[in-house]
């Protein structure tokens, strides 16, 4: 099997053909070649190797041309040698031919042609075709008639194409059994074994049937049957193709891809150098008044860090939403302000840090984009190394920031002696187990999350509830639901319920509760008390919990059960579950997941 491609009409044909046959490499890749038409005639360049190699070896991109054909080969007749590589020329160099298929009577034809004085350079079946064309042209003086006469003599299977010096603006092709398509652009026409050969240029294709041939020029094409010689009226098929898909690598959306990349981004965050973390730790340790800033998702990231610094390092470090920072923060030269931002270009966060700097504060930032404004303006930048996040909604970048802030809190705890080294080591072990746990949960739980999200896709109002460090997780998860599914979701501490919100509970409002592991006894029991309050009012509760062993019957309306995990990573795993829940709600509602309305990747306006 081989792949063929061809194009007529563009100026940079050698480039177009490069992409074309490289996309066909799956059909064969032991050797390849091109025939290009330029002002002086046909130029053939070919060699053994993959498309990239041959293009480099033969310096093919150097050639300018308005028409050409290209072939990538998978040897069937003849060894893998340069001579056996397509295209093949006629003795007089007036025809260059590429072919996919097997000419079954080639030996017989070759004998005859050799007797007539034709010189063969290869062991292939294909090479008879240019010589047959040359013979026929001598008799008919017409390229199309020569093709017809040649086709009459060929037995076997073929998708073939040729260019000829006699008609330097026309590309000819014909098919029997081997696949062949035309690509129809405005001022350019293509051929290909399949539409991968030209999909980057046009989605309009004409499917050539057996016993048909076509003549293409820049502005037109005609398809005829070579048995009946009648013109065939062919419909144009519009290929269903999303050029972004190949970049998404099998995922339907970047958001899902990035959710699935989280095991790797956690690993990357764990591999950020100790001394970088130590830099942040000493800044915080030295400052009298440390503060965290972020906005949107990163505000909730810093809010989570607020709990983590309190519980692991005994240090209260408030989180302030960047947009409120100037109005609220008592920043001074004794302050250290640490920001989190995926892009490092967020207007509100930059404004907050400018304000802090102007007041003489020290600054730091955790960012994903190297060289961004934030990374350049702060005293202590930390690159989280999460790789590009293309979906506008942040998932993997936020999780990586939480990991880095947790590492910072742990180190600070050791430094200020609120954590023993042993405890520190234990927590680090737990963090290291996170990637494996996320991968197995994504594998084994996606279906359950999808079913529940799909079932409740038309619910208009959600309450997201959590206590302690599960509260910022509830806030962040609710934000995911709002921004990607456009569904009202309100994050709230469980304790707030009985201070008014319970009045809202009825069949029109659903709740999601982030339940801590039962080993966190106080948090766990008080969270369950809130579940009971809602259920007592006939409210729906989806419980996300870790009680795999001892399922509590009918405690929740529905549940997503997770395997037991160490408490320090439990909220992070629940956040991943909530990302998927928002994602599946959005896809069930046919939302534009990767580019939701009213949101940009980095909000650079105030």
């Amino acid at each position: 099997m081989c792949g063929i491609a061809g194009a007529v009409g563009l100026k940079d044909i050698s480039n177009v053909l490069f992409d074309g046959i490289r996309n066909l490499e799956y059909r064969g890749y032991d050797s390849c070649g091109v025939a290009l038409m330029n002002g002086k005639g046909i130029v053939v360049k070919k060699n053994v190797g993959g498309v990239g190699d041959v293009y480099q070896k033969e310096n093919i991109l150097r050639h300018t041309s308005h028409m050409g054909i290209a072939h990538t080969r998978w040897a069937t007749h003849g060894q893998v040698t340069r001579n056996n590589t397509h295209p093949f020329l006629s003795c007089d160099n007036n025809f260059a031919v590429i072919h996919n298929g097997i000419i079954s009577n080639h030996l017989e034809l070759k004998n005859r042609l050799q007797k007539e004085g034709h010189r063969f350079l290869s062991d292939t079946d294909t090479e008879v075709i240019p010589h047959l064309l040359e013979n026929a042209y001598k008799k008919t003086g017409n390229v199309e008639a020569s093709l017809l006469q040649t086709l009459k003599q060929l037995e076997g299977t073929f998708a073939m194409a040729f260019i000829s010096n006699y008609e330097p603006d026309q590309l000819y092709c014909a098919k029997r059994e081997s696949p062949l398509l035309l690509g129809i652009g405005d001022e350019v026409k293509f051929i290909g074994s399949d539409f991968n050969a030209f999909i980057d240029h046009t989605k309009n294709a004409v499917i050539i049937d057996d016993d048909e041939y076509a003549i293409l020029s820049k502005d037109s094409y005609i398809v005829k049957n070579f048995v009946t010689r009648e013109e065939v009226n062919k419909p144009i098929t519009r290929m269903e193709w999303d050029s972004e898909t190949s970049k998404k690598g099998g995922y339907p959306h970047y958001m899902l891809k990035e959710i699935y990349e989280q095991p790797q981004t956690v690993l990357n965050a764990m591999e950020v150098e100790e001394k970088t973390i130590d830099g942040l730790v000493s800044m915080i340790h030295k400052s009298k008044n440390a503060q965290l800033v972020g906005v949107g998702t990163t505000y909730y990231v810093t809010m989570y860090a607020n709990y983590i610094f309190s519980s692991l390092a005994g240090r209260y470090i408030p989180a302030i939403s960047s947009d409120e920072f100037v109005s609220l923060s008592p920043v001074s030269k004794d302050s250290f302000v640490l920001a989190a931002s995926q892009s490092g270009e967020t207007y509100d966060t930059i404004a907050a840090l400018k304000h802090a700097k102007a007041k003489g504060a020290k600054t730091g930032a955790i960012v994903n984009v190297m060289g961004s404004t934030l990374s350049r303006m702060v005293d202590c930048p930390v690159l989280q190394g999460s790789g590009p996040e293309i979906c506008v909604i942040s998932t993997k970048a936020a999780l990586a920031q939480m990991i880095l802030l947790t590492r910072t809190a742990l180190k600070l705890g050791v430094k200020n002696k609120s954590l023993t080294q042993k405890k520190y080591d234990g927590y680090m072990e737990s963090l290291k187990s996170l990637p494996g746990i996320i991968e197995s949960i994504l594998n084994e739980r996606s279906g359950f999350i999808h079913r529940i999200a799909h079932k409740h896709r038309n619910v208009k109002h959600w309450l997201y509830l959590g206590r302690g460090m599960y509260y910022p997780i509830a806030l962040e998860s609710a934000l995911k639901m709002k921004e990607v599914a456009y569904v009202h979701a309100e994050g709230m501490p469980c304790g707030f319920l009985k201070h008014g919100t319970l009045a809202m509970i009825d069949s029109d409002i659903n709740s999601i509760v982030f339940v801590p592991p039962s080993s966190e006894k106080v948090l766990y029991e008080s969270t369950l008390a809130s579940v009971a309050e809602i259920r007592a009012r006939d409210g729906y509760v989806l419980g996300i919990h870790f009680d795999e062993g001892n399922r509590t019957q009918d405690l929740y309306s529905e549940e997503l059960i997770l395997p037991p995990v160490p408490p320090v990573i439990a909220p992070l795993i629940q956040m991943v579950i909530a990302q998927l829940f928002a994602y599946f709600t959005a896809t069930s509602l046919k939302r534009n997941v990767d580019k939701p309305r009213s949101l940009a990747k980095s909000v650079t306006v105030g």
């Binding site: 099997m1 696949p179 499917i207 057996d210 190949s246 339907p252 699935y260 594998n443 999808h450």
Partner: protein
Amino acid sequence: MKAVILAAGKGDNLKPFTDTRPNPMISVAGKYLFDHSLDLLQKAGINDIFVVVGHQKDKLVEQVGEHVHNGLNLQYVVQKRAGGIGDAVLAVKDKILPGEYFLLIYGDIMTAENIFSKTQQSFHAFKGPVASICLPPSNEMFGNVFLNANMNITKIIEKPKGDDLGNYVLSGVYILPESFFGLLEKNNRSMEKAIKALVMDEGLRASMWEDEWLDVVYPWEILRANKIIMDSWERSEISKTVTLEANVTISGTVHIEDDVIIKAGAVLEGPCSIGKGCYIGNNSLIRSYTALGDNCSVGYGVELKNCVVQKNSHIGRLSFIGDSVLGENVDIGAGTMTVNRKLDWSTIKVKHQKKSKDTGILKLGAFIGDDVVIGAGNSIEPGTIVPPGKVLPAHYSVPNK
């Protein structure tokens, strides 16, 4: 790329309809399942298609024959050795060249959006073997896959018992290399084992499918397949040879084909499809998700709702057919009622292969095989299967002694 459609299976679970036809020859929303697949293949740029036939092959071969001129190069291959999916795949072994990749499709799956195009696009990115995966309504009937972030399948668990796994599952669409035939031969012609061997050897990447997907296994799933297709319709199509008498009311999306006659007072609530040459009697009510095959007739005052009727069937006056599937040449007498719910609103069970199977559905009528004749005045219990050719006498409250 060549496509291979597997259509040789017996489809035992789809009785009574597969007693007389292969799965892909069931018509929903006005087209055979097979033709829905061909439409999608054509739009995915596939023009060489091999259909592996076996069970009831003559009907499919005849249908394949009709498609040669539709821009598609269709050929059928007879599965000589009866056996599993692996045997069916091996039937096309000599059609695929060394080094070539082919698109493999299980004949009983259906989607409204183009799963073949999506899978090909993933192949375009991976340039290696690809399996389409999806999230099914339940995991226990399928191959559950484990993935890493690069979409490499690392493990497959076939048909897990219980409800512990909520994985993506193999959706019955693959792009496989020619070397896969060798893996099948080495692995006792078992598809499951050969796929696992491929995962270990060359690797198998996944392509996630997120739109509606259905494996048409049980007869009530024919109704679901019908709904999936009708929900994807964007506009109505009414042939110019249709006769519409006075006071015919049409709403929603409808497909009405050539030479249909709709008598005065009929109401059509889309989505619904009416095949060529159908007759819709006076004052009949055709409610949403009804699909009538070619040349059916519907008598005066009949109500049809969410039902799929194959071609040449006749529904007598003042009948109600709802949440039901009817075969070809079915003759329903006047005043027949398919009761479609239990008195207590419990889910409907269907007696299937001698076992009672809970469908989980609250409203379901009957499944009536080809050539069945039902006399006037019968009422049919929810979930009843009537085998092909059965004749049920009329039900008289006042018999002629």
